[in-house]
């Protein structure tokens, strides 16, 4: 296929038109003044708001957790919500070593889609709207599973944590995605009422493990009426 060639499409003379003004910008290409359409990208879905939340520092545990009765964070759309869905855009974690004891194990955080019954009553992690004009978030993020009966569906992603082989030397902070940022709308994880995600540690840590992790969420909420 040959390379593209600069060109233009000539319109009828609009000088007598009295209708609406369709915005363009123009520039000179060669000897021609040509018009370029100005567009605004919008979301395909009817977006109600965009939100972020961050967990309190979470303690890495010696024994693997199962995501249903043990875990770190349960983020869900309550069953009573109607005409709204959540789209998870990104979830990432940073972690730290907090003692000079060797932690030569490879715990990781895993995110699974889940369904549930019941009403959550565990400690809630606040959602912050990125614009104060947005409605309060329906995405309900809890650091305890209390009140929910959880069924895991499938793994969506995972993230390794920082390790300490000898209890010496140094580490740099590292952002690890559990669910990487997806630039395109159709890649986001959609959560309907009755669905959620759970972040849990599916691989054991070290005896007396005291490593910590910080989990961050970015999502939007859409009108599905």
């Amino acid at each position: 296929m040959a390379a593209p060639v600069p060109a233009y499409i000539r319109l009828p003379d609009p000088s007598g038109n009295t209708g609406k003004n369709d915005r363009e910008q123009f520039r000179t290409v060669g000897s021609d003044i040509v018009f370029e359409k100005e567009l605004i990208r919008i979301r395909q879905a009817q977006q109600l708001g965009v939100y972020r939340a961050v967990s309190p520092q979470q303690l890495i545990v010696q024994t693997a957790t199962n995501g249903t009765t043990t875990g770190l964070i349960w983020a869900h759309v309550p069953s009573a919500v109607t005409n709204k869905k959540v789209r998870l855009r990104r979830c990432f974690v940073t972690s730290s070593v907090v003692s000079t004891t060797a932690r030569p194990t490879a715990p990781r955080l895993r995110m699974d889609r889940m369904t549930f019954t019941g009403t959550a009553s565990g400690t809630q992690i606040p959602a912050v709207p990125l614009n104060s004009s947005y409605p309060s978030a329906v995405f309900d993020i809890r650091s305890a599973v209390t009140g929910l009966t959880v069924s895991l569906i499938a793994q969506l992603g995972n993230a390794a944590l920082v390790g300490s082989i000898t209890g010496a030397s140094s580490w740099g902070p590292h952002v690890v995605d559990v669910f990487p940022a997806a630039p395109e709308e159709d890649e986001w994880i959609i959560l309907a009422p009755g669905e959620g995600v759970v972040i849990y540690q599916d691989t054991a840590g070290t005896s007396g493990d005291d490593r910590v992790a910080n989990v961050c969420f970015l999502w939007d909420e859409i009108d599905t009426a």
């Binding site: 060639v5 018009f35 567009l39 961050v54 070593v97 209890g167 140094s170 990487p180």
Partner: protein
């Protein structure tokens, strides 16, 4: 649903037209020369200016800060401003050790939204705008003096580097508290910017303490735009 098929719409012969020229480029697809339109993507909001401000090197605090009276920088839109909001596009920082200090602790830097009353009188942090833009309305202060701050909540938090012994090497890495992509560390899409209306702000603070006499350093930069509301 079937796969899409290459096609075109044939327009009226424009050789006699005397109106504007819609910019295109031509390409040969199959046996047809087709025109492809040129477009530009505009912002939904009306952007008045873009600004960037880097901070003096900060020292990691031994004790946790509260974001209200202790923190690194309060970024706010004064209540007297009208017709304008700011949007935080990116806040990024990197950190480093400055002495041979053992730091087995887990401090983290958090970004929190807040509302406030009062008028700031703390030390200012001036942005470096493109000179074609008007002077920034967003007010950056390295002390919250004069402001009565109410935190709305943490938006994001990032762990810092540490040393389990006063030896070895480390690699500084940039981390963003408002990043979207793990590689570019930016919020590239307009609907993910944090909107700051008059009476609102964000504070960068350390919500978990470091070690006694911590000497780790932080280098923080803020990027934002301001929009006509």
């Amino acid at each position: 649903m079937a796969a899409p098929v290459d096609a075109y719409i044939q327009l009226a012969d424009d050789s006699a037209f005397a109106g504007p020229k819609l910019r295109t480029q031509t390409r040969v697809v199959g046996s047809n020369t087709v025109h492809e339109r040129m477009i530009t993507i505009n912002r939904i909001a009306s952007v008045l200016g873009l600004y960037e401000a880097g901070m003096a090197q900060q020292t990691v605090a031994a004790a946790a800060q509260d974001g209200i009276t202790s923190g690194f920088v309060w970024i706010h839109m004064p209540t007297a401003i009208t017709g304008c909001s700011a949007r935080i596009r990116r806040i990024y920082f990197n950190d480093q050790h400055s002495t041979a200090l053992t730091t087995p602790s887990s401090p983290r830097v958090a970004l929190a939204k807040f509302t406030f009353t009062g008028t700031a009188t703390g030390a200012t942090l001036s942005p470096d705008p493109d000179t074609s833009y008007r002077r920034a309305k967003l007010d950056l202060r390295t002390a919250s003096t004069g402001l009565s701050v109410t935190l709305v909540g943490n938006i994001v938090a990032i762990a810092l580097s540490g040393g389990l012994s006063a030896a070895g090497v480390y690699t500084p890495a940039p981390f963003s508290t408002v990043e979207l992509y793990s590689n570019t560390l930016t919020a590239p899409v307009e609907d993910e910017y944090i909107v700051i209306a008059p009476g609102e702000g964000v504070v960068v603070y350390q919500d978990i303490g470091g070690v006694a006499s911590d000497t780790r350093k932080l280098n923080i930069t803020v990027v934002w735009d301001e929009i006509d509301t």
